[in-house]
């Protein structure tokens, strides 16, 4: 029974195995980055980047004349970097704060992407780009996704301390002459690379889900940055595993299934988490008797 439910799909189906490998890579790469996005109150920035990538993919789609791997990957990376540079320039030279600049860029690039694709192609391609297909993973995507996951884990390990310091106390960082902005940009680059690597499997709309959802769920269980990161990776792994099985057994689209699994973990964390709702209604210690 358990074998039939949990093991057999992967044992018998190569597409499932590939999907699992890519989701493990994505969980390891994205979830820690998601924790920093959440802690920096930059969930919206993540949103913007995933949609910014979408406009770049759309332009690459038109230039390449259809859905193909490398043009779309390169297009996504260029668009993602373009948007971070654009936002930094706007933030530095105007009165606008980061969240506003990201909201502006988000709308702009989403509209651009949808207009370009509908003008040059069909609804089918639009759905593919937005929602992805985890069961059509070729070797290129497999290698690219695992390479990006390794790169972002390594990169995060290198910039970890200054990034934490820049998050909590940017003024201190500037006063001691640390280049906080550089670490911030490096971090955004890692986010872009991860979003690009996950969009073909989960789609641009869902790529962010695997980054943000486990991070906010983990935050509800932990008050320490290290354990939050470990917990978020664990939750991302559980969500992608159960999401893939859900999608396999009930023939559901893979991206939304994975994000739905992460969503269920999120809902449970809201209720039962250490920083969640239920604990507020437990009797206080000093009212124990």
């Amino acid at each position: 029974m358990i074998y039939h439910l949990l093991i057999q799909p992967f044992a018998e189906n190569e597409a499932m195995r590939r999907a699992l490998a890519v989701s493990i890579a994505m969980s390891l790469g994205s979830a820690p980055l998601g924790v920093f996005l959440v802690l920096r109150r930059m969930s919206l920035a993540g949103d913007t980047l995933s949609h910014g990538i979408f406009s770049g993919i759309a332009i690459a789609f038109v230039i390449a004349g259809g859905i193909s791997f490398w043009p779309m990957t390169v297009g996504g990376i260029i668009a993602g970097f373009g948007i971070t540079v654009f936002n930094t320039l706007v933030k530095r030279n105007t009165i606008l704060k980061e969240d506003s600049t990201f909201a502006g860029a988000y709308m702009l690039s989403l509209a651009t992407g949808v207009l370009i694709i509908t003008a040059h192609g069909g609804d089918e391609e639009l759905v593919h780009i937005l929602f992805g297909d985890a069961f059509r993973i070729d070797n290129r995507l497999l290698f690219f996704a695992t390479a990006m996951a390794s790169l972002s884990l390594l990169g995060l390990a290198i910039i970890y301390r200054p990034l934490v310091l820049e998050c909590i106390d940017p003024i201190f960082m500037r006063a001691i002459g640390g280049r906080g902005g550089v670490y911030h940009q490096l971090f955004l680059i890692l986010v872009v690379l991860n979003l690009v690597s996950s969009f073909q499997a989960l789609g641009t709309l869902m790529a962010l889900g695997l980054m943000i959802m486990p991070a906010i769920s983990a935050r509800l269980w932990s008050n320490n940055i290290d354990s939050t990161i470990f917990l978020s990776v664990f939750m991302a792994l559980i969500s992608s595993l159960s999401g893939l099985l859900l999608s396999y057994h009930y023939s559901l689209p893979s991206g939304p299934s994975v994000v739905m699994a992460a969503g269920i973990i999120y809902l449970l964390s809201i209720i039962f988490g250490k920083n969640g709702v239920l604990i507020k209604y437990l009797p206080h210690h000093h009212f124990a008797e």
Partner: protein, 291 residues
């Protein structure tokens, strides 16, 4: 300098050899004395001259000067308060010295100091206190200048950090989360971090806002300790009595520098009155400075 006198076995004249050795020894001793003296004099010279100078300093927000044409000298090892009405540019002056704001004209000269010698404590509200870190983890960020992005914080340094936390009255707080601290406890934590930064110049921006009397006297004691250790401390304060009681030097700001020097002379009525007259609002038609 310790050149061993080579035995001259070929030379049969023992007397000459002995003389040579004696001469060499004298020469070496003289050299050592001379170099030691030079180092000592250099240290005296540098130490005596260490200072932080402001030359005709103007710092602006959006091209409106918050302080203008401020000149003066903070002597190395001095303990100075910066006083002045709201909007007088006190915090701006500190930010400029800390290197966070760039002067629009004029300059700040660090004579004998490096930029890395400066530690800066901004006004309280600028730190993300909901970030999931422990008290000890934040305290050890004070080692940044020493350890950078990847240096290991050894057990010894951690013990030192715990000692610093104890000295501000945060014993057994090491593993508490930042979110669980009160405003006063958090300010004490920041002072512990300043202690660990071990900086030669310490800039404090209104460190006693929302702080109770007991904590304040503890923090004042730390400031006096820094002064005793020969560090240069510059502190923005509102409370004139506190300045008179604890700070030997004072700068009175009202966009320009009204007075600078010994606290007694600076905080005289006429100076305070002229500081009060200063116009807080920006005027687009303000006359052009002659200076």
């Amino acid at each position: 300098m310790y050149v061993k006198a080579r035995p001259r076995s070929k030379c049969g004249v023992c007397d000459l050899k002995g003389k040579y050795n004696v001469l060499l020894e004298r020469y070496q001793k003289a050299c050592r004395r001379f170099i030691g003296g030079c180092v000592f004099m250099g240290a005296m010279f540098l130490g005596g001259q260490m200072k932080l100078e402001l030359h005709d300093l103007t710092v602006s927000y959006n091209r409106h000067p918050a302080i203008h044409h401020v000149s003066g000298v903070f002597a190395g090892g001095s303990l100075t308060a910066i006083a002045g009405p709201n909007g007088a540019g006190k915090s701006t002056l500190l930010k400029a010295i800390a290197g966070i704001m760039k002067p629009s004209t004029g300059k700040i000269v660090l004579d004998g100091f490096k930029p890395a010698d400066i530690a800066y404590l901004p006004q309280a509200a600028e730190i993300a206190r909901d970030f999931p870190l422990t008290v000890l983890q934040l305290a050890v960020t004070g080692y940044w200048a020493q350890k950078g992005a990847s240096g290991k914080i050894s057990q010894e340094l951690q013990d030192k950090a715990k000692y610093a936390l104890a000295s501000v009255g945060l014993t057994e707080f090491e593993n508490r989360s930042l979110a669980s601290l009160s405003a006063g406890q958090f300010q004490r934590l920041l002072f512990a971090r300043l202690i660990l930064q071990d900086a030669k110049i310490i800039l404090l921006d209104e460190p006693f806002t929302a702080i109770d009397g007991e904590t304040m006297s503890k923090l004042l004691e730390i400031i006096h300790n820094w002064h005793g250790e020969g560090r240069t401390v510059i502190c923005v304060l509102h409370d004139l009595r506190q300045i008179r009681d604890h700070f030997p030097e004072c700068v009175l700001l009202a966009r320009k520098c009204v007075a600078w020097g010994e606290t007694k002379t600076v905080l005289q009525n006429e100076n305070l009155f002229s500081a009060k007259l200063f116009h807080e609002a920006w005027r687009e038609d303000a006359e052009v400075c002659e200076a």
